[in-house]
């Protein structure tokens, strides 16, 4: 009987090991372990075994059952694993395919640059102001020390409106609003759309974007202005820039400057971008004219300030290498999708 048990166990284990399908394993289980199976048959014959051998046979019987059960469980588990592996493999996906649905949208390059520069200024303690596109002649000119017969008005070809107002020719009128509404000392910028009555070509637009900046404090000097502009431009260009101030005439500042930066393309040695001069004209700036402070309700004896104007459209064109200004307001997706 011992022999018989051993042989049964060995055969069952071999059968399980070689089973190719879960069904074959099940057949072995029923044949060997089932209620009417072989082990059950052997155990039914225990009565015929001499009592002194029963302990040993019983033990062998249990061992055989346990080992066959373990083998079956192991084999079944292997089949499960295989099945899962096959299923998962069948679920293979090509993740290099583009996603269904719409493609990502984009922000206009002018939006991008405005946000970037606004963030920079806010971090430097500046308030961002808005002003209207339709302005009064007073705010656009008179309050900026440009009286009606001033030749500077020729420098800015103006769109006039039927109600006597105009489309602002610069963001500078927001200075006036800033001086009237913000507490002193003040630091403000005003980005926005401005208009000039000019023929449009690849480098001229009648509609473009500027950013006006102003700081008024107890004591503001040319040295402060230069420091500030350098800091600002380093922030914009994300590198140190060499700047040069030279005289520039703007009626709302005195003294007034044109600020040039050393050409970022050639580093100052001269190239087509800087017309071989090594310098690129970037922004007009200056100390706020006492008349402008006065018209803004600020005592020029007590306060002084600087102001500057940054051409956002020009900056965008420099940043992205855009060679035709008309693209910016052309609405062409082939352009817009690049940003």
């Amino acid at each position: 009987m011992t022999e018989q048990l051993r042989e049964l166990e060995a055969r069952a284990l071999a059968g399980v090991a070689s089973a190719a399908t879960p069904e074959e394993v099940e057949a072995i289980r029923v044949d060997v372990l089932g209620r009417k199976g072989r082990l059950a048959a052997i155990s039914r014959e225990m009565g015929k075994v001499p009592p002194e051998e029963r302990g040993l046979i019983g033990k062998l019987l249990n061992q055989a059952k346990t080992s066959i059960e373990a083998a079956i469980a192991g084999r079944e588990d292997a089949f499960e694993q295989e099945k899962l592996a096959r299923r998962l493999d069948a679920e293979w996906l090509d993740l290099t395919l583009p996603p269904p649905g719409v493609r990502p949208g984009s922000l206009h390059p002018l939006t991008r640059i405005q946000r970037e520069i606004e963030d920079l200024f806010v971090s430097l303690g500046f308030t961002v102001l808005d002003g209207p596109e339709v302005e009064s002649e007073y705010n656009n000119f008179d309050a900026l020390n440009i009286p009606p017969d001033h030749p500077a008005r020729d420098m800015q070809d103006t769109f006039w409106l039927e109600n006597g107002m105009l489309l602002r020719t610069h963001t500078s009128p927001v200075q006036v609003r800033g001086m009237q509404t913000l507490p002193l000392p003040l630091r403000m910028i005003a980005p926005g759309r401005v208009f000039r009555n000019e023929e449009v070509d690849a480098s001229h637009e009648h509609t473009f974007y500027q950013l006006e900046g102003m700081m008024v404090d107890r004591e503001v000097s040319v040295a402060h202005l230069i420091y500030f502009m350098k800091t600002l431009l380093a922030g914009i260009f994300k590198r140190d820039v060499t700047v040069r101030l030279r005289p520039g005439y703007f009626p709302f500042v005195e003294p007034g400057f044109e600020l040039d930066i050393q050409c970022l393309i050639c580093g100052g040695s001269g190239c087509p971008v800087c017309k071989q001069s090594g310098w690129v004209e970037l922004l007009p700036c200056g100390l706020v004219h006492p008349n402008v402070l006065r018209l803004g309700g600020i005592d020029p004896g007590e306060w002084s300030g600087f102001a500057f104007g940054l051409g956002l459209t020009r900056l965008v064109m420099m940043r992205y290498g855009i060679d035709d200004i008309r693209q910016l307001q052309g609405g062409d997706l082939r352009f817009l999708r690049q940003f």
Binding site: G101, V102, P104, G105, S106, L107, H108, L110, T111, E118, V122, G125, T127, V128, L129, D130, P132, E133, V134, P148, D149, P151, A152, M155, F159, W160, L161, E162, M165, L167, L182, P185, R193, M215, E219, S221, V222, A223, H224, I226, K230, R244, L245, R246, P247, G248, Y249, E254, P255, E258, K275, L287, P290, S304, L328, G331, D332, L333, R334, L336
Partner: protein, 773 residues
């Protein structure tokens, strides 16, 4: 404005400063130099040569043997005036003459060694008729003609500097910067005394602060000498005749425009400076006849206008070959008046450009003195007749400023030694004296006092620019730190941009202008729009009151090369009225070549993302809207915009859905009002419901009914689907919803749920809806 480098060097008394360096110096300290171009480089090579003999050749050509001072040469010449004995300009082989390279060449079998040149070929006059005839010995350079450089200065940077519209003014700067000895070209001692032969009557000194004139007789009119023609030509001024050329030369030198009248053509002995009569005409030197009005100032004789003051002279009294007696005008006019006349007549001249900058009244007589010397040079035998006619209002008191040096240092952020400040101002011809501790008393010279320098801040610029701003050390400002005031509106607009772009929309920027055709397409009239009185082009005459025309243009244009796309713009509508209102809007569009439904619902989803809980309710369609696909967008009870499909008439192929939101209203509603509700602890129950309704019944209406009859435990209504077709009758649809029921304090029991359901079904049936199992 063009400056001759040679001339500046002469006047400024500087040497050893090349033209490029002078350009840079001017840029950094005075005004923007736009470029330095060589002029007349060939005069280094061109030499005087005497024509020794002339032999005719075939055609118009002649073979000339010339004495070049360094041997004889043979040249072929076509000029009619090429004759034995004259001295002309010989261009040797190997010389570049503008873009031409002159070489030894075979002409009709004769070897021509270089050429004899006309004034036009040499670039010193407009004369093509023949070769130049000069007085010089063979081998000498051409008198008055030498290589020069032209320094081009940006006019805009001279706007505030009347003095820099002449070489002498710029030379003053150069002399101050480079340490030269400024030369004074005018000798006012030459002004004759005695009674003038012409009388001047100025009607309004505000418009004409000064009018000075001299009479000359025994005048010979003819071409100017070459040096004078060459100088004018190099500056882009057209040589005309010796008299006119002198006036232009003085203008280029001293910034004082002048005008010469033929005295014989002036009626009466008095020159009147007066406003034009209404409708008075003036036939000007440029061949045009201008009709004037009293806003224009004229120079008139006894019979009428003979010049438009400060702008242009009249044809009738102009200098001709027959002129023997002239009246030379040197006047000063009010800048704004000249500017107005010049822009009204659309006529900008060298004179008007200068007068617009507020010229110095003290300069008129100085210019006349200079002209006397020049006229004597170019018109031998010319004589002054009578004394100076000079009508003027009393000269303005000099401007005297007090300049505290400590204050100057604070403005610049740099300390400048008092001696240095003084030296700088004196080099620029300010009078400086010291008054008390650290304060200078500065008298402004007349040519800087007309507008340019009026307050001490203007002196900060003078000192700053002369020391050079690069000598100022950048210094961090000491400022109080405080968080800046936040611009909520801007932040909101940026957030909307970000959100919309994240949904696949590309941002566009459109113009603020709208054409009449575009407004008509959107059912609007020109009268609804604020009009531009001086539009740059047809179609840009009005300001937009809607972003839609622009967006429509984008759709039509992009549809030419894209199958489907999404666009949006955030911009301002500009509405006319007693107060102009600028309203920020966000307009988004989806274009696709499909049935258009999906696009509308995508936009609705966008609206819900921006405004949770917003609703769309049917409304009357406008001209540009699809009449059956339009809704008002409402949020928190307010209308915030519209959702619609563009009328198919406006979109050729495909369809375009649009969401147009008033961002001002949206922003005002966006205050966060929600409050946390505790999360439900007991499970909910769901059941589905299908409601049969008329095909055009609104889902929103049915949902409202469900809510009305669903009782207090109805937690959520989820739309599942819409169904049409058999077995439903024609004109009907079935809308299916999944309802969620829950109580906050317990689990709803079976009988409770049945009760709720029965009540709901009963309510819906009573409202006229059929229910599908």
């Amino acid at each position: 404005m063009k400056f001759s480098y040679n001339w500046l060097c002469e006047l400024a008394g500087v040497r050893a400063l090349d033209a490029a360096a002078m350009g840079r110096l001017i840029t950094v300290h005075t005004a923007e130099c736009e470029g330095v171009e060589p002029w007349g480089a060939h005069f280094a090579e061109v030499r005087a040569a005497r024509v020794v003999s002339v032999e005719p050749m075939a055609g118009h050509h002649r073979k000339a043997v010339i004495d070049t001072g360094s041997g004889t040469r043979t040249v072929v010449c076509g000029a009619p005036n090429c004759r034995e004995g004259i001295v002309s300009a010989w261009v040797p082989p190997g010389t570049a003459l503008g873009s031409r390279h002159i070489e030894t060449a075979d002409v009709g079998g004769v070897t021509s060694e270089g050429m004899l040149a006309s004034g036009a070929e040499l670039g010193i006059s407009r004369d093509h008729a023949g070769i130049v005839e000069i007085e010089a010995a063979p081998g000498e350079p051409i008198p008055g003609c030498r290589p020069d450089s032209i320094i081009e200065i940006d006019n805009k940077s001279l706007t505030h500097r009347p003095d820099l519209w002449g070489h002498h003014g710029m030379a003053r700067e150069v002399a101050a910067l480079a340490g030269g000895q400024l030369q004074e070209p005018a000798d006012t001692g030459r002004i004759p005394s005695g009674a003038p032969l012409v009388r001047v009557r100025i009607e309004d000194y505000a418009l004409c602060p000064r009018y000075s004139a001299l009479v000359f007789e025994n005048v010979t009119v003819g071409p100017s000498p070459l040096w004078l023609q060459a100088r004018l030509e190099s500056l882009g001024l057209n040589p005309i005749n010796n008299i006119v050329d002198v006036t232009n030369y003085v203008m280029a030198e001293l910034a004082q425009p002048m005008h010469a009248f033929d005295a014989a053509k002036l009626a009466g002995g008095t020159i009147f400076v007066r406003p034009a009569r209404d409708g008075e005409t003036c036939a000007a030197l440029n061949g045009e006849t201008y009709t004037l009005n009293p806003s224009n100032l004229v120079i008139a004789d006894g019979s009428g206008a003979v010049a438009i003051a400060g702008v242009i002279g009249g044809m009738e009294s102009s200098i001709t070959g027959a002129t023997t007696r002239i009246v030379l005008e040197s006047a000063n006019f009010h800048a704004a008046g000249i500017r107005k006349t010049s822009s009204r007549l659309k006529l900008r001249t060298d004179a008007s450009m200068r007068f617009e900058k507020s010229q110095d009244p003290a300069n008129t007589v100085r210019a006349l003195a200079r002209a006397i010397a020049l006229l004597e040079q170019v018109s031998p035998g010319i004589r002054l007749a009578g004394g100076l006619a000079d009508d003027a209002r009393p000269a303005a008191e000099p401007i005297v400023l007090e300049l505290p040096l400590e204050w100057l240092g604070r403005k610049l952020g740099a300390t400048v030694e008092p001696e240095r400040v003084r030296a700088i101002l004196e080099a620029l011809r300010f009078e400086v004296s010291s008054i008390g501790e650290g304060v200078l008393r500065v008298t402004v010279p007349s040519w800087r006092a007309t507008k340019d320098i009026t307050i001490k801040d203007d002196l900060v610029e003078e000192v700053g620019r002369m020391i050079g701003y690069s000598s100022i050390t950048p210094t961090p400002p000491r400022v109080a730190t405080a968080p800046p005031r936040v611009n909520e509106r801007r932040g909101f607009h940026h957030a909307v941009r970000q959100a919309v772009a994240a949904q696949g929309f590309n941002e566009v920027y459109n113009y603020s202008f709208v054409s009449e055709q575009e407004m008509a397409r959107f059912g609007r009239n020109p009268g609804d729009h604020l009009a531009v009185t001086n539009p740059i082009a047809a179609g840009q005459g009005h300001l937009r009151i809607s972003l839609l025309p622009g967006l429509h243009r984008n759709i039509v244009e992009n549809a030419k090369h894209a199958v489907s796309f999404r666009l949006f713009e955030i911009g301002y509508e500009i509405h006319k009225g007693a107060e102009v209102r600028e309203t920020p809007h966000m307009a988004a569009a989806i274009y696709a070549k499909d049935s258009g439904e999906q696009s509308l619902f995508e936009l609705k989803r966008l609206a819900l993302g921006l405004m949770p809980g917003s609703e769309t309710s049917p409304c009357e369609a406008r001209a540009h809207e699809h009449p059956a696909r339009v809704a008002e967008v409402r949020w928190k009870g307010s209308v915030v915009g519209r959702l619609f499909e563009l009328h198919p008439r406006l979109v050729e192929a495909g369809r375009a859905a649009v969401l147009d939101l008033d961002l001002a209203v949206v922003e005002s509603l966006r205050e966060e009002t929600r409050k946390y509700k505790p999360v439900r602890r007991f499970p909910a129950s769901e059941f589905d419901l299908s409601v049969v309704a008329d095909a055009r019944d609104l889902s929103a209406t049915i949902e409202a009914r469900i809510r009305e009859h669903g009782g207090s435990h109805l937690e959520n209504i989820e739309f599942l689907r819409v169904f049409t077709g058999p077995p439903l009758p024609e004109g009907c649809k079935s809308l299916s919803y999944r309802l969620t029921m829950a109580a906050s304090g317990h689990t709803l029991s079976g009988p409770e749920l049945t009760g709720i359901r029965e009540k709901l079904l009963e309510g819906l049936r009573a409202a006229g809806y059929e229910l599908r199992a």
